[in-house]
């Protein structure tokens, strides 16, 4: 699957720009989408190299950064998908270009992580970036993987230590950095820790104070004495 991030970036790039090579990018995106179910295409060097050559050319000549970024993102996904040696070479080349140009741009790096979230790319980005928001994003992405594992099994002592270090950074010196949806990493990390440690069977649920859908203030604790089903919901 071409990730939503790539599609969104491509759509944004194509919006009214009609950038040079837009038709090539659209064609390759479509060909790639159709080719993906066929396992044999992963090893088809001519096919992959043809796409990657064209995308590289479009990206190199792009006048709009959005167009260049979206094109590189598609190239990265194609090189991630390919399993030929030249696809690996392309992967490093495209990654390097993306990191050189955009490693300090939190919004684009969030798109990058959604498009291609591998541990080594994340490590490269973390080393490279000067942006604290991007560093926080890398750490949170790493931590989320450990939390997913924790739902199934205990972490090794080393991994648990690493997770503790990450959470200390996210709730400490990186706490005020914002994620792509405007949340403080300090709040996101604290919420996650609370859900793991305190929002468990046998513990008393924390207070919720807020307003109802008509704007009237109320508290969860007003319902003590009753059995309560708490339902986090949305109409979508």
């Amino acid at each position: 699957m071409i990730s939503k991030a790539v599609l969104a970036a491509l759509a944004a790039a194509a919006l009214g720009l009609g950038f040079d090579g837009a038709a090539d990018v659209a064609r390759i995106r479509e060909e790639f989408r159709k080719a993906q179910p066929e396992a044999a295409n992963r090893t088809n060097a001519a096919l992959l190299d043809g796409w990657l050559d064209s995308l590289w050319k479009v990206a190199s000549e792009a006048k709009e950064e959005d167009a260049r970024f979206a094109t590189l993102l598609l190239a990265l996904q194609i090189s991630d998908y390919g399993s030929t040696d030249s696809a690996k070479v392309w992967r490093e080349k495209v990654r390097s270009e993306l990191l050189t140009r955009y490693c300090d741009d939190p919004k684009r790096m969030a798109d990058l992580m959604r498009a291609s979230s591998t541990a080594d790319l994340r490590r490269q980005l973390y080393e490279r970036t000067k942006s604290k928001a991007v560093k926080a994003m890398c750490l949170w992405s790493e931590a989320s993987g450990y939390f997913a594992t924790l739902r199934k099994e205990k972490l090794s002592a080393d991994t648990q230590k690493r997770l503790d270090e990450i959470m200390a950074l996210l709730t400490g010196e990186l706490a005020d950095e914002l994620d792509s949806r405007g949340r403080r990493y300090g709040d996101v990390a604290a919420g996650k820790l609370r859900s793991v440690n305190d929002l468990v069977i046998g513990k008393v649920a924390p207070e919720i104070e807020g307003k109802d859908l008509d704007g009237a203030a109320f508290k969860l604790s007003e319902y003590r004495g009753k059995i309560v089903v708490l339902d986090f919901w949305g109409n979508w």
Binding site: R194, S195, L199, V204, L213, I227, D231, W233, G234
Partner: protein
């Protein structure tokens, strides 16, 4: 989910029971027709204009929807993420416990 929630609320309307939502719609005005159409009568906190990135779900570490907690009369978490029939059974079990405690007093 709405029909099940509706029937739960209707079935237990005379019991010491409440369904409390934490709604994460960004735009309440867009939600209003659905509240009416689906007859959503139970009370919800609003998670704010940031939607699923709002303060209540963030402080609870919620990142999948729906997420459900079932609390007993002391506010203690007794079940998590039960749905449909399992949700009914969880609530019925807690209501029966509560009745037994009251009659023992």
């Amino acid at each position: 989910m709405y029909p099940h929630e509706r029937s739960l609320v209707a079935r237990l309307k005379d019991e010491p029971f409440a369904l409390i939502g934490i709604n994460s719609d960004e735009d309440l005005e867009k939600l209003r027709p659905t509240l009416e159409k689906e007859n959503i009568s139970w009370r919800s906190f609003w998670n704010g204009a940031k939607g699923t990135a709002g303060p209540i779900s963030t402080s609870w570490g919620v990142n999948s929807w729906p997420t459900i907690y079932v609390l007993d009369e002391t506010g203690t978490i007794r079940y998590m993420n039960v749905r449909e029939k399992a949700l009914d059974e969880a609530v019925d079990t807690l209501l029966a416990e509560l009745k037994a405690k009251k009659s023992a007093k």
